[in-house]
Symmetry: C4
């Protein structure tokens, strides 16, 4: 049943040339881009305008700094927004990075890609969670729970992404026949450590939410840095 629903499985005009293959993944990429774009923009919904009531109560007897104080009190929202935005952006770059090599897709790959998108769409949820619970009025236990959930989402992202790439690249299953082996291997090498690193972030979240967050930020910056710097660092 699933087979006939598969994009790219037996087209009416089964032209095996490169152009047809590009079309095959083009739709998948366009749909994925849409989900990435919506998810990354929804992050900003959580920045939230302080309610007039909260601002009023933040006014001291002097009544001078109501909105400013309320906005500053929301700092975890800005931090969480920036970290999540950067991470989704990196995931989008990575997504396109592997689609430079991928020319075909099958039903299993569509589902793996769907699973990745499902995880991506939960990032705004995790972001709201830590933004709310990093604020000082919440207890340490709740802060830990929030950070564990957030880190688990990131670990899931890293794992699904690696599974996708393994599936596509093993034996060149879905790759462009002209893809150069050393470039394919460099992608494999590059993402190999993602799951282990985000597992560390997750374990840290149980011990120290603050340390977990710090490592998460460092990873995002490291992945975002231009290669000339990261190459020197990892040499």
């Amino acid at each position: 049943m699933g087979d006939a629903t598969g994009v790219g499985v037996e087209a009416p005009d089964a032209t095996p040339d490169r152009e047809a293959q590009t079309t095959e993944t083009a739709r998948l990429e366009a749909f994925s881009d849409g989900v990435f774009a919506v998810a990354i923009t929804l992050l900003a919904l959580d920045l939230g305008v302080p309610a007039a009531k909260a601002v009023a109560s933040a006014h001291g007897p002097a009544g001078a700094v109501g909105l400013a104080a309320a906005l500053l009190h929301n700092w975890p929202h800005y931090l969480a927004f920036a970290l999540s935005f950067l991470t989704i952006l990196i995931m989008w770059v990575n997504h396109h990075s592997i689609f430079r090599f991928i020319r075909r897709c099958d039903h299993s790959f569509l589902l793996l890609n769907g699973l990745l998108l499902m995880v991506i769409t939960t990032v705004p949820f995790g972001t709201s969670l830590i933004a709310e619970y990093l604020q000082s009025e919440h207890g340490a236990a709740d802060r830990r729970v929030a950070m564990v959930v957030y880190s688990a989402i990131y670990l899931a992202m890293a794992v699904v992404y690696n599974v996708m790439w393994s599936y596509a690249s093993r034996g060149g299953r879905l790759l462009d026949v002209g893809a150069k082996p050393h470039l394919v291997q460099s992608v494999t090498r590059q993402f190999r450590f993602g799951p282990a690193l985000y597992l560390t972030v997750l374990v840290l979240a149980f011990i120290s939410p603050e340390a977990s967050l710090a490592l998460n930020i460092l990873l995002a910056l490291f992945y975002a840095l231009p290669s000339t710097i990261t190459r020197a660092l990892s040499a």
Copy 2:
């Protein structure tokens, strides 16, 4: 009046070649992809961060597990999210599956496609409904109503999808002239049972909301499974 508004009805340069025809449906697919992408991403808005108040009240005298308990209490939201995400994903795969054969479109087909998109955009509403009312504090009667509405949306999806495909494929009306009959028939066969199956899900919802949900999940998994397995199962 409607005619001149129709995409694909009498272009200024009425080139009947394949390229022009691809352009004709390309815009329809791009717009549909946009709606699918937004709808599937909006599902995650319903995951919802537990309000600080709810968490506080979940704190027992020991005050230890506030957020964790509040998150676990929200389990129907995660289940509903996963089921709806998988279903919209399958619908998107199906949508592209039939557009591999379709090369033309007319005004009626545009409206049918619009009707399908309308149903798709109501899935997040239905999802919120069952996520809220599956929770234990609501009565059995409300749970039944929620599940009936949710199942009705799915039935509408299956019906409109079949009508769309019938309209496009009858006599090859909108199909690629080179579309192979046995492939077209395999698509017809494949979706033929959708309406009956989702009607069963709907009827079950009146009797047992839990059984209806279980069957709905089974159907989504069955449609998502790779064809090699489903073929063996349906053989």
Copy 3:
């Protein structure tokens, strides 16, 4: 200043061939499609899950029909959703309809298109407004105000759309050089009555909100109907 910002004004490689011109409007169409897709999907956010509290209070002494009653009480939301969805869909069809003839764009046209998109994005607001105020617990005066605002949005849509088409088609300013005059004129004829019809809807809203809504629905159905029927009706 505006000039150099203009898409399509003096490209680095000013190739006047058709391919370059298609690219010129392709981006504008893709962006517009994105706005249409997001706006049409956001309509469904207003369907709204009845709050548990509202449902509880809807339970009579017998406590039997809480959620069902609350959902039925929301009927104006479903009506407003369907009408607005159909109207945005028709506007999208119309938008693509004129872009079959348009091959160039200039700064003024970009702004006119932006103005159209601005009006489109306010449709969900107008929809929420009438959905809320059509409900029986609101007074007749508020119902009238809601319907006037909603109708004004529709009138603005019809006017901006006509101005766009006039600007593009006058003297063939932005049209494909090969566009057949009789087809261009048929588009002009077809939309000429839109502003007058929606002005009638607006005036009616002051007198009878219900009659205004009814005429609005009739117009949407008339524009949506296949041309064979509408042609007979307007003959």
Copy 4:
């Protein structure tokens, strides 16, 4: 590490011809268009339907003009919406304006573009902020804070946009080899004053929020005006 993730850095088939280069930026543009489209549409979410309660309290003893008064009271929301919509629209036009010249992209440029998108997605937040705090019931201090934040977002937009263009155009780094120098320089000239102008808007916000808003509106209108007028004005 960053390098291999870069879109456009060492493709499997490293064809240096124009077609491949166009594909390189096409994905970046499509993703950016998605973010622009979602952000500009989300602006309308802030128009907000007056809550029934607010309307009821707006009813005077005569009870005549509840909803109308509540809607009129929201005028800062409409003003903020229109200004932000026009500004995002201009930014989108500018974005495409520079991508007519850009044919390659590297990791740093991807990040700069991501930074621009991040700022764009915060515009709805800033818009909600001034819409809420321009209303008369808030104090002058809060009005100032809101306008400072809003202006800072606009300044960030102007700065990041200029950095992006400098990075891409310096030495023709990412430009089409055939891009005409005088056209490239005209773009450079055109945006050079943006940061200084928006810095003025920001400084004004500390002194007089109203004057800052007025200048901001003037700038948006000036950038939106067709070039024939702006050219005469700046001559």
